[in-house]
Symmetry: C2
Subunit: 238 residues, 2 copies
DNA sequence: TTGAACGACAGACCATCGGTCGGTATAATA
DNA sequence: TATTATACCGACCGATGGTCTGTCGTTCAA
């Protein structure tokens, strides 16, 4: 093969792109480095020039995901007109929105990210996401406690639970997507709607808020978004 | 090597035992099949006679763990004198007890099970445990809803959240164990106590129970158990 | 008592994997 | 231009999970 020299950033991104595609379709363990390398049109030497190991590639990929997720809620984070409750609700709603009515490619991503094969990748993304989100959540909750809107004896614990809830809804959404038949899908949507309500209730309580303060999304929102999505998909299929 | 023939069940258990030891100390990926096989005093042929793949070995190991966990709460499950709330509390307390003041070898197990290396194994165990516990939880919750002690619109969702809580406390306990210094340990214990309270509050709420109904353990219990444990350990060390 | 059938086991062997290394072409710097 | 540093190449390596052929011992029908 002729020698090809690219801008380091581009080469690195290409490696990450193809790693992402292959890790998601085959799973981290089953996708071999050689596949990633040839798919990216690079060589062993090039790869190991950028990443010290396959593991490091996974790590970098997880960080990139986390960075993107963080960027997606940056405006909610920066908005100076939001009080702690508003910001928390905004965060929850935004993360939910990002999962449900997002671009098709990201949608497909979610679909695959929850396959058992992708356990490792998923876990690393969660870890990276937790590392960047948790401190922000803690800060918001602390602020809320100070100004009296929240009431809790364990801000870190609450932040952890909020993260958990986020992750759990992802799992439920994944089930909803993966469900084969329309009936499966309906059941999954119902489950997701219920789960969101459950989380709202629990969060209200552990934050010492009056009922209905935490509002991740209006009832029926999920169903509406999902059926819209389904129409688009079947439209494409025809 | 001379040919050794053992009773199939014994051979299988031996393979599982040594796999457990090696998977836990080295992690699933880093522990090689050959190591497991030689440790168990078997051969490649023997191994592949019992398990179709390394993956299957992991699966079988996870199932064995789940079975043991289930056996640990069997009495609570069977006790006919318990109402749904009592049974749920018993389950939560028992699972918490099993984690904290258990036999030293199981304690060491917990210590290692949460190392990042053991992600895959841990996940498989959780999966297997969820598969066997969730239906039982759902049944209990349904019963509680019928006889009016619980009030919820989504028993499955609540069951899922209960499972999640269980898993999450495991993580917090692991941190408490892993914490190096006594100060770290104290912080972790504090965090765990808080987290347990948080869960109790949240569960009370999503089950429509009056405050204080869900009681995973009296305040201070964790600290007491942990310091007792610590004394034993330092006693041994001297 | 034999011998076919089968379960249990042994271990040589294989493709492939992640990772290494010596080397080369290009860019940057002097 | 000379020298160094960067980006890249691909042959090569040991180890790994997995396969395959074959052997030993038991069982049980004839």
């Amino acid at each position: 093969m002729p020698r090809v020299i690219k801008h380091p950033e581009i080469r690195r991104e290409e490696l990450l792109d193809h790693a992402q595609a292959l890790f998601l379709t085959l799973g981290y363990e089953k996708a071999s480095l050689n596949e990633v390398i040839t798919a990216a049109g690079a060589s062993k030497g090039a790869f190991y020039h950028y990443f010290p190991s396959k593991e490091a590639l996974l790590e970098a990929l997880a960080e990139r995901f986390a960075r993107q997720a963080l960027a997606g809620v940056q405006d909610v984070l920066d908005d100076p007109g939001l009080d702690p409750l508003g910001r928390l609700n905004g965060l929850l709603a935004q993360s939910r929105r990002a999962k449900i009515d997002t671009a098709p490619e990201a949608w497909a991503l979610f679909e695959t990210l929850f396959r058992p094969d992708n356990l490792v990748l998923f876990y690393r993304i969660n870890l990276a996401a937790s590392a960047s989100f948790s401190p922000l959540l803690v800060k918001i909750i602390r602020q809320g406690v100070e100004d009296g809107t929240f009431r809790t004896f364990d801000p870190e614990g609450v932040a952890d639970i909020v993260m958990q809830f986020g992750m759990a809804t992802q799992g439920v959404i994944a089930k909803a997507i993966a469900g084969g038949s329309d009936a499966d899908m309906d059941v999954a949507i119902e489950a997701l709607e219920n789960r969101v309500r459950l989380y709202e209730i629990a969060l209200d309580r552990i934050l010492g808020l009056p009922d209905g303060s935490i509002c991740i999304g209006e009832p029926g929102y999920v169903r509406a978004a999902m059926t819209a999505r389904r129409r688009t998909n079947s439209g494409k299929a025809q």
